[in-house]
């Protein structure tokens, strides 16, 4: 097989892709073929947790594209993740049909509970898989484009832009908390039954979702890696390091920013859409500003501007979170904050930067 030059030069990326290939085969084997009483057996729960990490990793890659390469510190990317999740959650809600508590063939339970008589217009079409899948890209992408178009045209940048992105995700959280929005209020969307006819409780479905998450991560990674190795990628770096230079070279900086920001939001949306069927719920808590900040910390820990670092950071920090919130739940936020400070002070280039330095000195 002949690999393009931009990929061959990316050794860390090849390692990542190889790892994804191995776990896409190995984890289904360990779950399906190894008997449950064997010590190497992986439970469906573990598979789902790992699948969740992969979704987070895709979100981190999306953030690294705009932050690491273009210098836009988005503290609202979880909003795009959540919107993708809600779009797919709406599809899953419509699949429940008469199996809901109230047995209404069209209306989800929470609408019946609110005495709504018919489906709001924006729920139409979400019974179709292809439509929901399309919206997973369109809704976050459109919001990012409109937001980016106005923010970047007004030359809002740096800390101010970060604050606005926080406000964006916070505003969405408040809106989604309202029952009148028609997205289930603070309970969100849950009690999903099946996807494309396959039960979400079934082991096999969970395995397929896991493998799809690995594929989506690999695809998102490849797309971003290719993009940053093109001339456009160098324009992004120019915008990050010297926006004026890029502008006086003749690049319409705000358009490049809006376009790449939109692409990044779409990737985040895909990550959210794969996340929801695995965790079984999406609620307005996903829009919480803290979620976006956490995702930025993953990227910082792994090493921004490397893409691979984003994946490493997302998986390691979330593994630590799963472990810590089980063992010592009250210290998690302190640990997270401390981690961010420590990485910023001691490892400005993240874990990947540390590895690269080792490599360079030996």
């Amino acid at each position: 097989m002949v690999l393009p030059r931009w990929l061959l030069a990316d050794r860390a990326g090849l390692v990542l892709l190889a790892v994804l290939a191995v776990i896409s085969i190995g984890i289904p084997v360990l779950n399906l073929l190894v008997p449950p009483d064997h010590p190497l057996h992986l439970t469906a729960y573990t598979v789902t947790v790992l699948g969740k990490y992969l979704c987070y990793a895709l979100l981190a890659v999306a953030i690294d594209l705009v932050w690491g390469y273009m210098g836009i510190l988005s503290l609202g990317h979880a909003a795009f993740f959540a919107l993708g999740g809600y779009c797919f959650g709406m599809y899953l809600m419509r699949q429940i049909g008469t199996r809901g508590v109230y047995g209404d063939p069209v209306l989800p339970d929470f609408m019946v509970f609110l005495n709504w008589q018919e489906l709001p217009w924006y729920w139409h079409g979400f019974d179709l898989f292809w439509f929901a899948a399309l919206m997973v890209l369109v809704v976050p992408g459109l919001l990012a484009f409109v937001f980016g178009w106005f923010a970047f045209r007004s030359r809002v940048s740096g800390v101010y832009l970060s604050i606005i992105t926080q406000a964006l995700t916070y505003a969405l959280m408040l809106a989604f908390f309202r029952n009148e929005m028609g997205f289930g209020g603070n309970n969100g969307l849950t009690d999903f039954k099946d996807v494309l006819g396959f039960s979400l409780q079934a082991n096999e479905t969970r395995i397929v979702l896991f493998v799809l998450s690995a594929l989506a991560l690999a695809g998102g990674y490849l797309l971003c890696r290719w993009l940053v190795s093109t001339r456009l990628g160098r324009v992004l770096v120019a915008i990050r390091d010297s926006e004026d230079r890029a502008r006086f070279l003749g690049y319409r900086v705000e358009r490049v920013k809006a376009l790449v920001f939109t692409l990044s939001a779409m990737l985040a949306g895909v990550a959210g859409a794969l996340y929801v069927p695995q965790v079984g719920i999406i609620n307005p808590g996903e829009f919480a500003p803290l979620n976006s900040i956490e995702a930025v910390i993953w990227v910082a820990v792994g090493g921004r501007g490397t893409l691979v670092g984003a994946v490493v950071g997302a998986v390691l920090v979330n593994y630590a979170k799963t472990w810590l919130t089980g063992a010592l739940p009250e210290i998690w936020l302190f640990a997270l904050g401390g981690l961010f400070v420590a990485v910023t002070l001691l490892l400005p280039r993240g874990l990947i930067g540390l590895l690269r330095r080792r490599e360079a000195t030996t």
Binding site: R231, D241, F248, L249
Partner: protein, 273 residues
């Protein structure tokens, strides 16, 4: 959307096809330009003409309006009144920075501004005209013709052996030359160069003077500079700015004996040698 995508460089097709008309020998016209910042007239009724292929030095004390003038020409600052034309037909006040850059006006900043994590070659590739349409950007390869253009510029600015090095590790003078090279990749008609020799060694200054002189003729070059020795070594025609307007214009030897110029500028202080 398709227009948006194909127009990342910001120049509409209409403008691209319109070429600069310098038939009357004048490439850049600034006429009665005034800019006020919070009541302070940074540029006060300034009129200035730059000839086609001319090498012009602009000198003046701090606050004379030199950088503001560059900001106006390149679209960063819009004047309160006045006219700024590129050639006979192109009204620069109607264009923004990327569009003006694509019309053929390159600007070198005072502080060397190269993209440090990229190699010298990649910096030049970034600046290449014609590569800024969307389709041109979505590629990882250089065509033979593009490679030739980059090689020619590398040779011109004397960085051929350094093409694979990161711009961030170049010496100060080399960064300045790289930035001039980036302007050349844009194939400009007019180069605006802000204090190119600040912080350079005498040897670097000589090479820079040589480079700028070699560019005149095929390009118009406007150099803002404090260093009188350097100005003497490159330009015949010098404009003295003072308080946002042209105080005097002529050969440096004449200006140096002009009592008015001596009073506001040349005689003032010890900074000029």
């Amino acid at each position: 959307m398709s227009e948006l995508v194909s127009d990342l460089d910001g120049s509409g097709l209409r403008l691209r096809q319109e070429s600069v008309d310098a038939r009357h020998g004048i490439l850049l016209y600034l006429e009665e330009v005034t800019v006020t910042f919070d009541g302070f007239k940074a540029i006060d009724n300034l009129s200035l003409y730059i000839g086609d292929g001319e090498l012009r030095c602009i000198i003046g004390p701090n606050g004379a309006g030199k950088t503001t003038m560059m900001d106006i020409i390149t679209g960063k600052t819009k004047p309160d009144s006045g006219r700024v034309f590129f050639g006979q037909t192109i009204d620069l006040l109607k264009l923004d920075e990327p569009a003006i850059a694509r019309m053929g006006i390159g600007r070198k900043f005072q502080r060397p501004t190269v993209i440090e994590p990229l190699t010298v070659l990649e910096n030049l590739e970034l600046a290449m005209s014609g590569a800024k349409r969307f389709r041109g950007l979505i590629t990882t390869r250089l065509s033979g013709e593009e490679r030739d253009r980059i090689d020619a510029v590398l040779e011109k600015v004397g960085l051929t052996e350094h093409s694979g090095r990161l711009a961030g590790i170049l010496a100060h003078g080399q960064k300045q030359w790289l930035e001039i090279g980036m302007l050349l990749m844009q194939e400009p008609r007019l180069l605006l160069v802000d204090e190119p020799v600040a912080g350079m060694t005498p040897a670097e200054m000589d090479r820079t003077a040589e480079l700028l002189r070699s560019l005149a003729g095929s390009h118009s070059v406007v150099v803002v500079e404090h260093d009188m020795g350097f100005v003497r070594s490159i330009a015949d025609q010098v404009t003295v700015l003072h308080q946002g307007r042209v105080l005097a214009e002529g050969r440096l030897e004449e200006l140096q004996i002009d009592p008015m110029v001596i009073e506001v500028y040349l005689g003032a202080g010890d900074a000029y040698h």
